[in-house]
Amino acid sequence: MSELIVREAEKTVRGIKVLDGVSLSCSSGQIVGLCGANGSGKTMLLRAITGLMYLDRGFVEYDGKRLGRDIDFVPHGGVLIENPAFLGRYTAVDNLRFIAAMSDGVDMEHIRRCVAAVGLDPDDRRRYRQFSLGMRQRLGIAAAIMGRPRLVVLDEPTNALDESGFDLMGRIAADIRRRGAMAIVASHDPDVLRCMADEIIRMKDGRVIECETVRRAGAVGPAGADATSVPRPSARRYAREVPAL
């Protein structure tokens, strides 16, 4: 059982308070959503959670280890923050291979499965610089879930995705829960979070203004459809074409 704790997180960047007393917690099998407009502090909070940014006050602890003191980064974490950002001259699989080389236990078969799971073709020889925005975003998601991370951090994961993105997020959420991992997902769209998260935290000006518990049984998906109902035809077709994670 792993636990992530953020306590009274404060951070000032160039005179602007980007995080002001934010607290949250997340444990194994749980997904926490961060909702808020642009500039509300979601991305900065995600940076603090992953260890890319250290706080001025407060702390982030993962399994009792404090970021910036005991560990530099969250161990076994999968990250998609801001833009996908990959190496333009390499293919999707090659880009993931470079990342996988940093850790053990990620073989080529798993990489190819992750690429396929997000709707990309693992045999596609096109270079990343030739990808559309949606394809780049999908590769970013694949990098975040590759290696079965214990903590998945996703920043606006449905940016540039078509409607099949909701289905993809749902399957990722199910996989995270099944593995007993945890996730922090940020989005300005509450519908995206309602199809994934157990709890939604709304932020504004670096502060938490509301916490909403999403009940899984009655969770409402996009366009008012019940998440447990039959998916839209296009999403169902997409789900058949893409192998499971």
């Binding site: 960047v13 940076r47 992953t50 260890g51 890319l52 940014m53 250290y54 560990i71 530099d72 980064f73 969250v74 161990p75 974490g77 990250v79 998609l80 923050i81 801001e82 833009n83 996908p84 950002a85 990959f86 190496l87 333009g88 001259r89 880009n95 470079f98 990342i99 080389a101 940093m102 850790s103 990343y128 610089r129 990098a143 920043d155």
Partner: protein
């Protein structure tokens, strides 16, 4: 282990960004060689009278240090611009990749490695590797060109070149070696590139570059043991001239600068905010 993995990644991913500069090193070696051959021919002596060391000495020659008294008297300031070319190209080679990697795709590698220091040390190792590769290629081009012009395969300067190379020392003994200068190129340049790296990951690229070029410009103008570039000027090298700057001093100073740059840079990286994902590479 994670530092090695990051270093291996840097060798693979960073190589395309420095490949043009490594090709330029080879070309610079050939160009310097041709220029040196021209100087040798202009001296009126047979080209076969000169040695490989002469070509190195002529490549790394620089005008005598600035003499304020002479300047006041109206003597013109002499700047040997060709001496700067190699360093200007080399320092530019490692400007782009480390910073771009941190701001772009490389941030995932940092997170996956679990250690900011591992990323930093790997980048330092990569910078040193680029410096070594650059000088190996430049000297290869220079030596091959010297050989093509019929120079003797010797590390010792000839008496003809001793006269041609400006030197502040009045004591010149023919037969001095250029090997110490050649051996110092890598540690001295690597140490300056580590300073540049530390500045560029924290601030911007150009301030680091200008700082390094500024140190070398000052080295050309002023003969002082603390200005590292002096050890790479043939007329001030103890390998060539008895009263020149000792090789051991240059090595010790470059190692000290390198250690300070690695330590300070590592401390900066260990606390800085990594804005990864800001751009593609």
């Amino acid at each position: 282990m994670r530092t090695l993995r990051l270093y291996a990644r840097d060798l693979r991913v960073g190589l395309p960004s420095v490949r043009p500069y490594l090709v330029a090193a080879l070309v610079l070696g050939v160009v310097h060689g041709i220029a040196a051959a021209g100087n040798c021919a202009y001296s009126g002596n047979d080209l076969s009278s000169f040695t490989f060391a002469d070509y190195v000495a002529l490549t790394f020659q620089f005008a005598n240090p600035v003499d304020l008294w002479l300047l006041i008297q109206g003597r013109p300031l002499t700047i040997t611009f060709p001496w700067f070319f190699s360093f200007a190209v080399l320092f530019a080679a490692t400007l782009e990749y480390p910073r771009a990697d941190l701001l772009g795709a490389g941030y995932r590698g940092v997170v996956a490695s679990g250690s900011r220091w591992a990323w930093w040390i790997a980048k330092c190792a990569w910078v040193c590797t680029v410096a070594a590769a650059f000088w190996v290629l430049l000297f290869a081009g220079l030596i091959l060109t010297a050989w093509a012009f019929g120079a003797q395969a010797s590390e010792f300067m000839s008496e003809f070149a001793m006269i041609m190379v400006p030197a502040s020392s009045s004591t010149r003994y023919p037969g001095m070696s250029m090997v110490p200068l050649m051996l110092l190129t890598v540690p001295i340049c690597a140490s300056m590139m580590l300073v540049q790296l530390a500045v560029s990951v924290r601030v911007e690229r150009m301030p680091g570059y200008l700082l390094c070029m500024g140190v070398f410009f000052a080295s050309g103008m002023v003969e002082h043991p603390l200005l590292l570039g002096n050890y790479l000027i043939s007329g001030r090298s103890a390998g060539a001239y008895v009263e020149g700057l000792p090789m051991n001093d240059g090595l010790a100073l470059s190692l000290a600068v390198a250690w300070i740059a690695v330590a300070v840079g590592g401390l900066l990286v260990s606390r800085m905010t990594i804005y990864g994902g800001s751009r593609d590479e």
